[in-house]
Amino acid sequence: MMGRVVVLFMLWMLPVGAAWSQPLLADLSHHIIAIQTDFQGQDLILFGTLEEALGPDDALVILVKGPSETLDIRQKARQRGLWINETSVRFENIPSLYHIYRYGALASVSAATVARQELTLDKLKLTIMDPENPFRAALLENKKTWGLYKEDTTSIVFRGPYLFRADVDFPVRVKTGQYSVTVFLFKKGDIVAAQTTPLMISKDGIGADIFFFAHTHALEYGVLAIILALFAGWMAFILMRKRSL
């Protein structure tokens, strides 16, 4: 009798239990960031739960990746006393933003996995991989200065053993486009779960209209810029004449 009740109970629980038995669930507080004229960067909250508490050999990693871009890194050299750009290296299709948030021990994760999943900035796949290369170093340095690349070990915070949250920040210089936020759960060095959430950053409001207009109707934009300036000049003249009368 008792055994049948238990089996029934387990059968009843099964579908619900399956739905709950995801090792990792996470989501962002917003999926769209609008860059308006007063944009100064934005912080989003990523929150999630784990099925099991993290052990001493386990880790949680959040990777935030921005749309790709192509950059030239130029090196200045002194020529006839003047500092002039001399050598230039092109980095093609690199992420415009790359944030790594870590929690827990990554020591057990193999070097191959770290490299494949680009879990450290040292292993980030850029046109030049040699860590000693000055152009790669300059690119990383520049990106870090603007907060576009970073490695962070303090932002992921646990509330109890299962619930976690992380402050994910998007600095003022973010590029518009499609972003992805991926959460990895490592257990004893292996990825046991991963979840990717998309995020869209776009320009909004009058700034976006101006940018769009300037690029799609360049000629009309130029004409409008001139007309506005002519009008402003005329207004200034009237103002000055009134003052002098």
Binding site: W83, I210, A229, G233, W234
Partner: protein, 308 residues
């Protein structure tokens, strides 16, 4: 309060931009110049990409020169024919200048060329002005006028009279080769595109010394030319490079209108030779800043440029 400027693609404190406009306007009210030579370097210094700074400044100068030109027009101090020839050269110059700008930008040398232009043109002009006004203030003022006279006779040089395309300019009472104003306009057009200045600075002395124009006609006529050339540069930069930030230009214009009012008031209380001396010192300061950027070892040898 920070404002995001869509073409510069960065947030700048709006009061800082207004302040730059006021400073530029102050200079134009005080000294009767466009103020571009102050505002463009300062925009670059604040972090605006040089290409956006130069192009946006051209847009601001359209407004500044329009109000200046309208001030001269009712008094009849504009030689439209002379202005037209200057303009023809200026339009060609600005077209070549914008093409040169795009080419140098691709090569990665635009920043250095902008700095060099500032150092060479403004530096030599400032030195000349400092010497001239220092002599005027501290030495016998008679000497100053004497040297001015000999330089004004330059346009009677036989070589210049032998040039083709002789043209009569009744309003300025001149009979000279049309090539002279066209070439002057041409060079000024190039400089507008490369430096984001109106070029009145260089055009006014050139019109007096090389063309021998009556002094009272020079300001209005040069403003006539500058209005159209800066408008042309704005159009070309917007069309070819998409580097004109309308919003940035509008805030700058607003500031410069206020600044010009203050400048005009102040100018009434200051003596002309002192004004010129102060202006020369400011121009020298801007040059020194640009020169140090070229000569001193930069903080970082590397720069990052986005490729579209």
């Amino acid at each position: 309060m920070d404002l995001y400027f869509p073409i510069a693609e960065m947030s700048i404190n709006v009061f800082l931009v207004l302040g730059l406009g006021i400073l530029g306007g102050l200079a134009s009210g005080l000294f009767g110049v466009g103020g571009g030579f102050l505002m463009t370097p300062m925009l670059i210094f604040v972090g605006v990409p040089p290409s956006v700074a130069v192009a946006t400044q051209a847009n601001q100068l359209v407004a500044a020169s329009t109000s200046g030109f309208l001030g001269h027009w009712p008094r009849g101090h504009v030689d439209i024919k002379m202005g037209g020839v200057l303009l023809a050269g200026g339009l060609l110059g600005s077209w070549i200048g914008v093409a040169l700008f795009s080419w140098l930008k691709r090569l990665g040398h635009i920043d250095v060329v902008i700095s060099l232009c500032y150092v060479v043109f403004l530096g030599s002009l400032a030195l000349f002005m400092v010497m001239e006004s220092a002599r005027f203030i501290w030495c016998n003022p008679q000497k100053g006028t004497a040297s001015l006279k000999t330089r004004r006779d330059f346009h009677h040089h036989p070589l210049l009279l032998a040039l083709p395309f002789m043209m009569r300019f009744p309003k300025s009472k001149l009979y000279i080769s049309a090539l002279l104003p066209a070439v002057i306009g041409f060079f000024v057009g190039i400089l507008v595109s490369l430096m984001g200045i109106g070029g009145g600075f260089l055009m006014v002395p050139a019109m007096i010394y090389f063309l021998g124009m009556p002094v009272h006609m020079v300001a209005g006529t040069s403003l006539f030319q500058i209005t159209f050339v800066t408008a042309m540069v704005t159009l070309l930069q917007a069309f070819q490079n998409q580097t004109v930030d309308m919003m940035l230009a509008m805030v700058l214009i607003l500031g410069s209108v206020v600044g010009a009012q203050i400048g005009l008031k102040l100018a009434a209380h200051l003596r002309g030779e002192w004004l010129r001396f102060i202006l020369a010192l400011i121009v020298l300061g801007v040059c020194g800043q640009m020169l140090s950027g070229l000569l001193l070892t930069p903080e970082s040898l590397f720069s990052v440029v986005s490729v579209r």
